[in-house]
């Protein structure tokens, strides 16, 4: 089963419920799309992430009402360095969509979506703890897995696998 090449053309993907919703809501919020291995990715501008989540959650046709996961990928030394990744699920329609936001290494900060889904709380704390990405508006942004006084963010690519000794 050879892999089909990824589709990145917005016009071809307009019919996907999530893309249609976000583009219909605010076209300038979408900086790109990708359909690869049966999975839909929407690249969202950093300024609009919380509102984009609300738009997708309140979509009457296909409500993406469940936040599966929030995580991050570090592309060090490339810029923009961080990619914050959100996985949403529509429980009524059984659809998934992935939202991605690029962040520069200078001030990795993004608006928290805990006001949309309180369940984002732990996930955002984990990303903050392990990557050092700040979530503005988070009610309790403290380390969650590492000790409080730990230095550095272990999942960053410039952090050695065996740690500092």
């Amino acid at each position: 089963m050879p892999l089909a090449p990824a589709i990145t053309d917005l016009d071809q993907l307009k019919n996907h419920p999530a893309v249609a919703r976000v583009v219909g809501w605010k076209p300038e919020a979408v900086t790109g799309v990708k359909f690869d291995r049966d999975e839909m990715t929407i690249f969202v501008d950093r300024a609009y992430i919380r509102e984009a989540c609300i738009a997708l959650k309140d979509d009457p046709a296909c409500p993406f009402n469940f936040l599966s996961d929030v995580t991050c990928v570090d592309w060090y030394p490339a810029e923009p360095r961080f990619e914050v990744v959100y996985h949403l699920l529509s429980i009524p329609k059984k659809e998934r969509v992935r939202l991605k936001v690029h962040l520069n290494s200078a001030s990795p900060a993004i608006e928290s979506i805990t006001s949309v889904w309180p369940g984002a709380n732990y996930f955002e704390r984990e990303v903050f703890d392990l990557f050092g990405v700040r979530f503005t508006g988070h009610p309790y942004l403290r380390r969650i897995l590492m000790p409080e006084d730990w230095e550095g963010h272990p999942l960053r690519k410039d952090y050695p696998v065996e740690g500092y000794r």
């Binding site: 429980i91 889904w117 309180p118 999942l155």
Partner: protein, 401 residues
């Protein structure tokens, strides 16, 4: 939804309340969960779970391993359902590679996954009942669990850390007598579930400790990211095995038990009925087990048979290359989710085209389910905290990774 947000650090000093530190060495916290409780007499005013005591940095370790070397690490995330984690990881890598898995391997995976679910639910039922005060159920559950562990040992050589699935199939043909043994187990297990239910379901003490305790509405459960029986106990009808099938689950007939009440008893009923459904799936898998190979036809990815490796030059080269340099995976990313005994277990894997994963993220079901605890417990009695912790079936290895 303001009530779902956590309260900042608990500080003593208020007149009526005191801070109680439960765990990390408390027997009913199932490992090393620490819970900070602010209590007013016997009533919990606020609570805050504190995790991280078992953090081992598995996600970071994965980035330094070849794709096939990550499989044993996935066992160690959740020691009650290693095969579910094996499955989720190999499915994700197979999706990245675009591999097609032969039917027999898929059916064996389903069979073993359902046995794992039974194994995990038995440990949950035993320890949960023990927490609340029913001692006998624990012994009964571990009696049946022992047989499942022996089946795992028979098929993979290990009782708990099985590492039995491989990218592209499964490690070995199941040994002679394996299917008969599973069939025996599937034959007598439903009676054993009746036994557990006789002890608990209608028991007045059990009902008093569980009915109406630690209630959670469907809206709160969805908002907090709960999955699995924790979500279905609140009346939300979703099961990834049925709704987004993987590994041939669409070919099996089973019901998804849901309860509407959203209390400890509802979650208990969901899991007990799941025990019966799972053994039904095991039986279907035994009856319809297809014949054929157990590994995909992908020479550069799947290790060749030992026999071929010893007689054919080409197989020997592939074997050498896979062991020493791994196999390259095309650039891309996937999110693969499976229905683990605790809910949605998801693997998000990013490949940069090399033989080592660029990023592996595990979306752990317990990690999200744990957030529901304050909603369940605040305003309720201290003794109910123990019932609530048991009812969400936490495994700290999976939460802390």
């Amino acid at each position: 939804m303001a009530h779902l947000n956590p309260t900042p650090v608990l500080e003593p000093g208020q007149d009526r309340t005191m801070i109680l530190n439960m765990g990390p060495q408390h027997p009913s916290t199932h490992g090393v969960l620490r819970v900070l409780l602010e209590i007013d007499g016997e009533t919990v005013v606020r609570m805050m779970p504190d995790i991280g005591y078992l953090h081992t940095g598995i996600e970071k370790t994965c980035e330094a391993k070849f794709y096939q070397q990550v499989v044993p690490l996935t066992d160690r995330i959740d020691y009650l359902c290693p095969l579910t984690n094996n499955l989720c990881y190999v499915l994700a890598v197979e999706k990245l590679l675009g591999l097609e898995i032969p039917p027999k391997a898929q059916w064996l995976r389903v069979l073993l996954n359902e046995l794992t679910r039974i194994n995990s639910h038995l440990v949950w039922l035993g320890t949960h009942a023990l927490d609340i005060g029913a001692m006998t159920v624990f012994l009964y559950c571990f009696r049946e669990r022992e047989e499942i562990l022996k089946i795992f040992e028979m098929v993979s050589g290990q009782r708990m850390m099985t590492s039995y699935f491989r990218v592209g199939g499964i490690a070995l043909e199941p040994p002679l007598g394996f299917f008969d043994r599973v069939r025996d187990f599937a034959g007598y297990f439903p009676e054993k579930v009746d036994e557990y239910e006789n002890l608990l379901t209608g028991n007045p003490i059990w009902m008093m400790r569980t009915k109406g305790v630690a209630r959670m509405t469907a809206e709160d459960a969805i908002a907090l990211g709960a999955t699995g029986p924790t979500l279905r106990g609140s009346g939300v009808d979703i099961d990834l095995r049925r709704d987004m099938p993987y590994s041939s689950y669409e070919k099996f007939q089973f019901k998804v038990p849901i309860s509407q009440e959203g209390d400890v008893f509802a979650r208990y009923m969901c899991r007990v009925q799941e025990l019966r459904e799972s053994i039904g799936i095991v039986r279907q898998a035994l009856d319809g087990m297809p014949e054929g190979p157990i590994k995909a036809d992908a020479p550069g990815v799947v290790l060749p048979d030992r026999e071929k490796m010893k007689t054919q030059m080409e197989s020997l080269i592939y074997h050498f290359k896979i062991i020493t340099e791994g196999f390259a995976v095309p650039v891309g990313e996937v999110y693969q989710a499976v229905e683990s005994p605790r809910g949605e277990m998801g693997y998000y894997i990013v490949s940069d085209g090399t033989a080592k994963p660029y990023r592996v993220h595990m979306r752990s079901a317990c990690f999200a389910n744990l957030q529901t605890l304050p909603t369940m417990c605040e305003g309720r009695l201290l003794a109910d905290v123990v019932a609530a912790i048991g009812s969400i079936d936490i495994v700290l290895g999976e939460i802390d990774r």
